[in-house]
Amino acid sequence: MMFLSLLVFSPLLGIVLLMFVRKTDERMIQWLGTAATVPPLILALFAFIQSGRGFRLERLDEARDWVRLTDLPFLTDAAYVIRYELGIDGLSLVFIVLTAVLATLAALASMLVKTEKKGYFLWLLALEIGMLGVFSAANFVWFFLFLEVTLVAMFLLVGKWGGFERERAAYSYLLYNGLGSALLLVVIAVLLARTGTANFALLHEMLHNPAAEGQLIAPLTEEGRRWLLGGLLLAFAVKLPAVPFHRWIIRVHVEAPPPVVMLHAGVLLKIAAYGMIRFGVGLFPDEFRSFAGVLALFGVINVLYGALLALRQRELKRVLAYSSVSHMGVVLIGLGALNEAGIQGAVLQSVAHGLISALSFLLVGVLAHRMGTTDINRLGGLTKAMPLFSGYLLTAALALLGLPGLAGFVGEFTSFLGLFQTKPALAAVGALGLIFAAVYSLKAVLDITFGRPRDRREAVVSSREPQASAASLGEPQGGVVDLQGKEAVPAFILVALIVAVGVYPQLLAAPLTAVVKTMMNGLGG
């Protein structure tokens, strides 16, 4: 079976074909770049549907020899084999589908990117490979390799195609994530050195089965494990990000091109959540308990800190950036709860926020394109000229503030449900974030869409029609064009997904149930 390899590396085909397209042929590049994201989408959806019908995902496991360090004289035969291993379960599958969907939509949204399209799409596709690989990897080394691919691709996408302060943002991204990765590498190296394997399943076996402990190259003390887990959690906390490691994400949100932020906020931040669950809870369940309280506390801090800062921002992208900080806090809350509801909540919140932030930044891209600004102070009354766009933006805001019936609620509800079991008082404090979320989302979006037009361009329109009254509403006005077909398609798909998850969360919960149960078993023992 080569299914997973095919899934992960299928964007390569697009990369190769893109090489042969002339730089100036932008239509072709756009078309090809988008088409290249379709094969992984089809494969991911296929796997999702099949697993829903009872197909066992373990059958997709792949393994191949890659590096064998057995020839060294001081090593035993079995030790230090690093294989190329891919394998997924329900948890990875959910994230893979999210990645594949958002990648296609981001590629569609990239039609607003005008400069050096060829290079842009090459790196976008590389980014997709990295993301798919991260979630498909079955061993630590490959996980890390794929993670670094995303790091490089993202660095270039921000640094080259970003906004005014793009280089600063790119270096900021590199610095924080590089440090996180370095820490992660240390943890991986230690684990490899002690156990001789990087495979998740084997690691799990060796760390938990007392009988297998003898096979360890060197024993791991209780304290040593705690240090490893601490390092792991710290590394992912930087990438999530947890306050106070969040400064980079603000810059990236503001400076990166909106379609890239769709993937950044939509998927890349979730790698940290995925990592914490897969490695933190998965490999060190016992040690995880001692960190649960801290995680929950940081979660609540994230929620409130992000929300309170979002209140004061007058640049839409910054509002959304701080709201990402706040929403990632909910993921930490779920993990800190360390029960079935909490872990499932953390995953649901990751997916929900992925969809919602993708929708938000899709719209941000359109807004910036139409009005030349995303500064809230310079916008107002857009509903008049762009009713459809405003409707979508309002939907995004409602999803952000966790309105029931939309995906955001499901994530928040489930995570909080978890924490209310273990730490009700802390959870109650965190729930105040729900109020602030309503305040910042509505404040920002209503200031843009409701009220009187404030932007220069719109002011010109209204001065031509001094009696701009209720009677003249609804007509698209000169200069400002509402959401158009090609832009409306991804927006519509995202809203449909957000509603689907919100109305029937079992859709996502079903593949997770088994995984969560296995992890809870690990915790119990």
């Binding site: 003390t221 040593g224 029931p404 489930t414 209310f420 609804g474 969360p505 919960a509 149930t513 149960k517």
Partner: protein
């Protein structure tokens, strides 16, 4: 038909989706879609009610999400209360759908209006069918969404924008209470289902302390939604929405959801004396508090809004005094007469294009349909005998007298006096006296009058479901026969009647016959008048305390973020940079340095190896 109850909310949902997709093409014809959907809902709701009258509760559940071993469900539950609410909501909603066709005619966003009405009706119907707290919470927030969208319907008005935002946020504050309370109950009982929770109260799984805490938290949600003190300030501002919306959402249905919620959880509330006292006290205080503000308002809709707050206070008082039936009875009659008053007010506004009652007058002749209908509504809410409001208010006063603290009873009586006074102040100012420059004012079209006629009939007839004379049908049915009419002291009804006529008489003296100066109050105690005009400065207090506190914290955190957090990050970057430059300075091409570093490094490694045996930790 009860097993089809789940379809009832789907008609308006369908209307919402259809109008969102095709409304711009259908324009004014959109109204027919909305009206038809609401009508179908009403028919089915009536069928469910008829079924329930002769049968027992039907419940059905479907999986919503599984978490580990727990399955969360959504479903329908056709209890007596739910079946009753279903009809009340569907009926008022249908009437408002019909009325809006005339009222909103010509509006550019006509189809959007109907779409939103559909969304709201869907959510409200879903709420009153809920068999569990989670579903109730979901629809609870969705009705809030409908309310928000419709308050902000005139989005280009800054006032409407502010009002919509305020309504959402104020009710959300309450909702967080609901959220926390719901979560606490879940982990005590491992279920969101009402029945499971009631069972847990019964068998003692749920400790009294936890019960009290949870239900008071949930009550905070009801306070927010039902505009009770101190979270009431959004409701008067919500009058920025179109008037039919005020009638449907902010008078008849959504604001009564708080009352409904407490009623639906009544066994839980009854288990906690402290919670019941809280409910009664908040209700009683709100009743009198809002009534006093209603005395001095000059905007016709705001008078009605404060009156709504006050009447909802009555219902809460009834619940707190243990009379579930009285609360639902008043909820029902209030839904009819208050919707009537709002629709009539809408008709007045439609005719004179102002909401300021000081600019109105002498409209009795000009609005031959609206005026008598408004009078019926006013008589009903004032508790004049033979009108619906009389019976339901009497029931509440009786409950307050028999079970509640005395003080609350007298507050309720005082509020009744104020109610009939401000209602007839409104009536005389608008309809009596000299006509003022409204020569072109003419009555509403038939499509607007017809729904008002229906409500006019109901504002009288609905009182006879539950009277001291003809039996208490409603009470017996709602409680499955357990209800018994309290042996009420006869003087309460007499007192209520006297009080109601006294208020009307006083209003007539001041505003009808003008035998008493209108500035009687403001001339004698100007500061009281000012206090009432400023709504007890509640908004200002909030602005100066909560709002400024949050924005102060937010500003503080902005500086923390900008300087402290960023500073630390720079420090870290600086250290890395310094290490890098130190390292590159070491790379100076001199073999001796390299050798020295190598030896030193090796030495350190050997020492470490010797100390730890190769593995640290």
């Amino acid at each position: 038909m009860m097993n089809l109850a789940w379809v009832v909310p789907l008609f308006p949902l369908g209307s919402f989706i259809l109008l969102l997709l095709f409304g711009r093409r259908w324009k004014q014809r959109s109204a027919y879609v909305g009206i038809a959907a609401a009508f179908l809902s009403l028919l089915l709701a009536l069928a469910v009610l008829v079924d329930r009258l002769g049968g027992s509760t039907y419940e059905a559940n479907w999986t919503w999400m599984t978490i580990g071993g727990v399955t969360l469900t959504v479903g329908i539950s056709a209890t007596a209360l739910n079946a009753w609410m279903l009809v009340v909501v569907a009926l008022v909603s249908w009437l408002v759908h019909v009325y809006s066709q005339g009222y909103m005619a010509g509006d550019e966003r006509f189809s959007t209006f109907y779409a939103y009405l559909g969304l709201f009706t869907f959510a409200m119907l879903g709420l009153v069918l809920s068999p569990n707290l989670l579903q109730a919470y979901i629809f609870w927030e969705l009705v809030g969404l409908g309310s928000f969208l419709l308050i902000g319907f005139y989005f280009y008005k800054e006032e409407a924008k502010a009002a919509a935002k305020k309504a959402f946020i104020m009710t959300r504050i309450g909702d967080v209470g609901f959220f926390i309370g719901m979560m606490l109950l879940f982990w005590q009982t491992h279920s969101f289902d009402y029945d499971d929770i009631f069972r847990a109260v019964g068998d003692g799984t749920l400790s009294p302390g936890m019960t009290t805490l949870a239900v008071i938290l949930i009550f905070i949600g009801a306070i927010g939604k039902s505009g009770q003190f101190p979270l009431h300030t959004w409701l008067p501002d919500a009058m920025e929405g179109p008037t039919p919306v005020s009638a449907l959402i902010h008078a008849a249905t959504m604001v009564a959801a708080g009352v409904y919620l407490v009623a639906a959880l009544f066994p839980l509330y009854e288990a906690s004396h402290a919670a019941m006292m809280t409910v009664a006290t908040i209700g009683g205080v709100t009743a009198i508090f809002a009534a006093t503000i209603g005395l001095v308002q000059t905007d016709i809709k705001r008078v009605l809004a404060y009156s709504t707050i006050s009447q909802l206070g009555y219902m809460m008082l009834a619940l707190g005094a243990g009379s579930y039936v009285a609360a639902i009875f008043h909820l029902t009659t209030h839904a009819f007469f208050k919707a009537l008053l709002f629709l009539a007010a809408g008709s007045v506004i439609h005719a004179v294009r102002t909401q300021n009652i000081e600019e109105m007058g002498g409209l009795w002749r000009r609005l031959p349909w609206t005026a008598p209908l408004f009078l019926i509504g006013a008589l009903s809410i004032s508790g004049v005998p033979l009108f619906a409001g009389f019976f339901s208010k009497d029931e509440i006063l009786t409950a307050a007298w028999t079970n509640g603290p005395r003080l609350l009873f007298w507050l309720a009586v005082a509020a009744a006096l104020l109610t009939s006074f401000y209602m007839f102040r409104l009536f005389f100012l608008v309809f009596a006296g000299k006509a003022r420059h409204h020569e072109d004012a003419h009555d509403a079209p038939a499509s607007m009058v017809a729904p008002m006629l229906v409500l006019g009939v109901l504002s009288i007839a609905s009182g006879y479901m539950q009277t001291p004379w003809f039996g208490s049908f409603l009470g017996e049915w709602l409680t499955d026969g357990a209800y018994r009419h309290e042996a009420a002291p006869g003087w309460i009804a007499v007192l209520a009647t006297i009080v109601s006529f006294a208020g009307i008489f006083l209003a007539w003296l001041m505003y009808g016959a003008q035998k008493m100066p209108r500035d009687w109050l403001s001339a004698r105690v100007p500061y009281v008048d000012e206090l009432l005009r400023r709504h007890y400065y509640i908004d200002d207090i909030y602005r100066l305390t909560v709002v400024s506190l949050v924005s102060w914290i937010s500003r503080l955190l902005t500086y923390v973020d900008r300087f402290l957090v960023e500073g630390l990050a720079r420090l870290a970057a600086g250290i890395v940079g310094a290490a890098a430059s130190a390292g590159s300075r070491g790379q100076n091409g001199q073999a001796q340095t390299y050798g020295a570093v190598t030896v030193a490094g090796l030495a350190i490694l050997v020492v470490i190896f010797a100390l730890t045996g190769g593995y640290w930790l």
